[in-house]
Symmetry: D2
Subunit: 113 residues, 4 copies
């Protein structure tokens, strides 16, 4: 992760792209890249989405790479460590969704709280 | 990252939530969480987005955690390592956007290629 | 539609909100509202999504209203008539996806072209 | 609008695409099309977004057409009239955001309520 963050920083700096990479714009770019993932799945059944042909997987690999890159960059700009933050969020989720209460149920926050 | 992936797996298994977590559904959940990030920035100027008050940052920390969690889970379901994939994508980007050609310009794929 | 566009204009003007409603920001707001629709469906099966309980439908009605409002406002800011534009796009789609070639197949642009 | 809805229905029926167009899938498709709008704006300043070159506008016209088409189709599948619903939502918004309280301020729901 440290290597990756440094590689992203260098890539942006060499291209003089900091001027475009405000947190606002990075949030937009992140959402655009995630939609490219969604696009692959929009007409598939859930079952089909579990068993993708290799060429689809190769494309998704690139999209997931793009999402990861923008997520790391956005987090970095905000002074947030995405891995530590995800771990902290998992601890919150453990409290929020007690296994014995939500087992086998698909709750939305608002429906459960 | 390894710890995080294991924690997510255990969390899902304890709640019997695999049945809801098809790649298709995870792609949707990922896009919903990213929109919660976008929502924080939609009415801010780019300048304001660079200098957020602490309570906004605390909320964004949670949203970024959520995005990271779903991204890891989706990638895992597809047999993709998100960090390795992001590194590979950075190498592609280095070729695709030669620093001397794109310096200081905000190109979209389609406009550049 | 004309009444609706006028009501939106007046609503924005009375609140002095033009300053926030650049096309860039309206595109973000539109995507956030669409995600609120997606959120309702993320853990449902396709079958469940065809037969929603009344309280879900009531919530979706509001989200669809929000999306329509932002879409009209964004189109208006860009000098675009959304209904005429949709009609023109349908004519393009008729050419792009000849019924005899695509019947019963879920093509993405890139896969078909 | 009535003509447009009928044209969309006929287009789908002729291609035997009802099988793919569950509300869940249409919500995904709607979000993908909205992201194509967002993509046009992601690296622009707000000022630039107000003064687009003709070729950008032509592309946005098509994206807005696509969003309108999917929104009408999704609403139709749910038995919702998008124009009536938007009017009803405007009436709610008038109550929710009293002009004298929110004038010149960009409130999010949660911050205002």
């Amino acid at each position: 992760m440290e290597d990756l963050r440094n590689a992203i920083d260098a890539f942006i700096a060499e291209r003089d792209w900091e001027q475009f990479h405000s947190p606002k714009n990075l949030a937009m770019a992140l959402s655009v890249e995630v939609s490219e993932i969604v696009e692959h799945f929009q007409w598939l059944t859930e079952e089909q989405s579990k068993d993708l042909p290799p060429e689809k997987l190769a494309e998704l690999r690139e999209e997931i790479g793009d999402v990861m890159i923008y997520l790391i960059e956005l987090a970095d700009k905000l002074g947030i460590d995405p891995v530590e933050t995800a771990k902290a969020k998992m601890a919150i989720n453990e409290q929020k969704y007690p296994a014995d209460l939500v087992k086998g149920k698909s709750f939305k926050y608002s429906e459960y709280e």
